[in-house]
């Protein structure tokens, strides 16, 4: 019989990793939609209108899968982690309920107008809906990151006995919400999401340019996405640094794991390496004293190592170390890409650098991998705690659930998610292959088009109906 805790962790890792492909894309793309539609309203240039419509249809696809997989996350706290739910319900629950009330309703309500409302509402209300969807998707990150940050740096609570079982209760709502790591981690997560959205648009636009298709659409797309990428890179660098400072202050065991720092004393900064956990050392390329230098501008700074913590409170080292360094390497790569892109744009030769455009095409994978790696570093680095210093992961699982049930649902969700992922990639590729529609099909108020469409559909036999249906722009 396998261990329920391990199975529940595998299931959580699997479902959150798959889910987390989609929300960052919708958060990032949401901002870009606001920019594109804003440009359309300001300039009246139909190019931006075409662009908005194309990316709205991609957004709808991403959002649909994000919602479907997000529902699983909300259920899972209760199904697999019932003891944890009882322990943190008083704290975590209010953040989750607020997320539902403030974010999800805003997002899903206005998404309807964003996607289906082109012919039903005026330009102003449509733009307002785009704005609300973008805001809603960012709000949803706020609440979930606040809850997760509370698990990293708990604050504003006390432990009480509830009918003989210990649990955390809020004493100060704002201290709980604005716990020490909330704001830095939120800006780090949002920046990661912006990077994901920016590189998606950058990648597809650069690809069109290289393939000599939709050239005006491609050039404008590259420029908008590149500008946004550069902004997101800056906020990412700043928030990343301050997040690391926070980890050093509040979660020293995690910092030691992230940097493979086993022995208390001056600390090196590894650019890459392999952790030799039994031998308590790291083999790799390092800047001696680099960690001390980053934390307090002093290479001789004494940084607590893993030896400060009893073995049962030490996180694993290899996984957080590799995930953390992978994330940083990708972040640096994206900063390099944005810098080169801006440089050639300034020189006016951006679209002559085919190698750089190919790098942009591939860049879409960067934030995806880095976002996943960042979460792995943050969550595995917190082990063995589920709530840092308060509740251990092994004490948090559901007592009423057996290993075979968890295994069964892992098999169920693996199958479903694999299918979803293949379909998602297929439909996204189809959308990209089909490309943005020309103006005739995408006017805001196409009376002749709408009029011609419906009678044509009426009472047609199945096959003709199908042919007509393929003409839909979405």
């Amino acid at each position: 019989m396998m261990d329920v805790t391990l199975l529940a962790r595998i299931q959580f890792a699997l479902t959150i990793a798959f889910h987390y492909i989609f929300p960052p894309l919708s958060i990032g793309l949401g901002v870009l939609l606001v920019i594109m539609e804003g440009l359309y309203l300001k300039t009246g240039n139909p190019l931006y209108h075409r662009m908005t419509r194309f990316w709205v249809s991609v957004f709808a696809l991403i959002f649909g899968i994000g919602v479907a997989t997000g529902l699983v996350m909300e259920f899972q706290f209760g199904t697999n982690w019932a003891t944890y739910s009882r322990y943190v319900g008083d704290i975590f629950g209010s953040a989750l309920a607020a997320e539902g009330l403030f974010a999800f309703f805003l997002e899903s309500g206005f998404l309807a107008i964003l996607v289906f409302g082109w012919n039903k509402v005026g330009k102003g209300l449509h733009f307002f809906s785009t704005l609300m969807v973008a805001l809603g998707s960012m709000f949803s990150a706020v609440w979930i990151v606040v809850a997760n940050s509370w698990m990293q740096t708990p604050a504003g609570f006390h432990i009480v006995s509830n009918h003989g079982v210990a649990r955390a209760e809020v004493t100060d709502f704002w201290a709980m919400v604005l716990n020490p790591s909330s704001l830095d981690r939120l800006s780090h997560v949002l920046s990661g999401a912006w990077l994901a959205g920016a590189t998606l648009v950058l990648s597809v636009s650069a690809y069109y340019y290289l393939k000599n298709r939709h050239l005006d659409f491609a050039k404008a797309g590259v420029k908008i996405a590149l500008g946004f990428l550069a902004v997101a890179c800056c906020t990412q660098l700043l928030s990343g640094h301050s997040s690391a400072m926070l980890v050093a202050k509040y979660q020293p065991a995690k910092l030691a794991a992230l940097e493979g720092h086993f022995h208390t004393g001056p600390a090196d900064l590894y650019l890459m390496g392999v952790v030799d956990e039994p031998g308590k050392r790291v083999l790799g390329l390092k800047i001696p004293g680099g960690l001390g230098l980053l934390l307090s501008a002093n290479p001789q700074q004494v940084v607590p190592g893993l030896d400060r913590f009893p073995p049962e409170e030490q996180p694993p080292v290899q996984v957080p170390f590799q995930a953390y360094h992978l994330m940083i390497a990708i972040g640096m790569g994206l900063i390099g890409l944005a810098t080169l892109g801006l440089f050639f744009w300034w020189r006016g030769t951006l679209f002559e650098q085919r190698w750089l455009l190919w790098a942009m095409v591939l860049s879409v994978l960067g934030p995806q991998v880095a976002n996943q790696a960042g979460w792995i570093a943050a969550e595995v680095g917190r082990q063995p705690w589920i709530v840092y210093g308060l509740l251990k992961t092994k004490d948090a699982v559901s007592r009423a659930v057996g290993a075979e049930q968890v295994l069964g649902s892992i098999v169920l969700f693996s199958g479903i998610y694999l299918l979803l992922f293949v379909l998602f990639l297929y439909l996204l590729t189809q959308k990209i292959r089909k490309g943005p529609q020309d103006e005739a099909a995408s006017k805001i108020h196409p009376p002749e088009a709408a009029g011609a469409f419906n009678p044509a559909m009426k009472n047609r036999p199945l096959l003709t109906g199908l042919n007509t249906a393929t003409e839909r722009t979405d």
Binding site: S94, G100, A469
Partner: protein, 346 residues
């Protein structure tokens, strides 16, 4: 503000009611979505199937948020209920999730490719998952009404097969019929021409099925679920709710007969509200009734979050709910009237 709320308001009762309202909102709104889904395969042409999908196209997603928020509110206000029910009903909830995922994806993907096999596959997936979701929701409600075995810590102590008892299955089937009826009236309101004529036929049949299920469930409840009917015996002042519920249900076929579908739809909504109210009164103050050891039951008092959290959330809800209602109203207003297929439709 917090202090005032904590000393003047029974916050546990308030949240018992609010969680009930959220799940009732879900049942009314996603109820017709699930109903449309379960009737979907009865249409034969691609155009009609697209029309069916697009009757709920812009709103199904927002309707499902009521479930997400209801679940979140349950977690926040009554963490022990959330933990016990979600871990105890493990397999049914996993299947419910699978059904909801398939349904969402089927709606999203179906019309994106023209191939017959593609569309037919998603049509089946949409219908089966809609029926499955309604059935599982009903089975869950049935079990909560009947009572489930809990241990002294308030954890679920039964097995998977306990959940598939005849009473729960009856409530499950009645829920499927209720949503199918609700959905068929909705389709009549949103369509015209041949599809509307077909939907009127469904309406008559599903009303008959639902009323049959309702009668059987009521009889079974009176005979076998004393804990749910006890309140009405002890407090006859609640009997008018029973009567109102009866009238609301009886009014549905009456309005249909008179050709007043809009009124029939509101009657159907009212029936759902009143059924949930009956359920809430019957359960009060229990949220999970423990059978055979009633002293282990989770109530709105012993399973709740702290008073401070309940009060904080009451303030959050007071700010958020009017906003939510206003944009729900905007969306339904924008997409009012008969559904038409255009370039943005599914």
């Amino acid at each position: 503000m917090l202090e005032w709320l904590m000393s003047h308001v029974d916050l546990n009762l308030l949240w018992f009611a609010l969680v009930g309202i959220l799940f009732t909102g879900y049942a009314i709104l996603d109820g017709f979505d699930l109903g449309v889904g379960s009737l979907h395969l009865l249409t034969k042409t691609d155009e009609h199937r697209r029309l069916m999908l697009n009757t709920i196209g812009p709103v199904w997603d927002g309707n499902e948020v009521w479930l997400v928020t209801g679940g979140g509110a349950l977690f926040a206000a009554f963490p022990d209920v959330y933990a016990t029910v979600f871990s105890g009903f493990y397999m049914p909830f996993m299947l419910l999730l699978a059904a909801l995922i398939f349904r969402a994806v089927a709606i999203e993907f179906r019309s994106k490719e023209p191939y017959g096999w593609w569309r037919h596959g998603w049509d089946i997936s949409f219908s089966v998952s809609s029926v499955g979701a309604a059935l599982l929701i009903g089975i869950t409600l049935g079990n909560i009404a009947l009572g489930v075995p809990l241990n002294a810590l308030g954890e679920y102590a039964g097995g998977f097969w306990n959940l598939l008892n005849p009473y729960a299955l009856l409530v499950g089937l009645t829920t499927v019929a209720l949503f199918a009826m609700h959905g068929s009236i909705y389709v009549v309101l949103k369509t015209e021409g041949p599809l509307q004529r077909q939907a009127k036929g469904w309406m008559v049949h599903t009303i008959a099925w639902f009323i049959m299920g309702y009668i059987l469930t009521t009889m079974a409840t009176l005979l076998y679920v004393p804990n749910l009917t006890e309140h009405f015996r002890e407090h006859p002042q609640f009997l008018p709710v029973v009567l109102l519920n009866l009238l609301a249900i009886a009014n549905i076929p009456r309005e249909v007969y008179n050709g007043q579908e809009m009124r029939a739809f509101f009657s159907s909504c009212a029936s759902i509200v009143l059924l949930m109210l009956l359920f809430g009164i019957g359960m009060f103050p229990n949220m999970v009734y423990s059978l055979p050891n009633p002293q282990h039951s989770l109530t709105m008092y012993n399973a709740a979050s702290s008073q401070q959290t309940l009060a904080t959330m009451a303030i959050i809800a007071a700010i958020a709910v009017p906003l939510v209602l206003s944009y729900t109203a905007i969306v339904y207003w924008v997409f009012r009237g008969k559904v038409k297929l255009d370039s943005t439709s599914y």
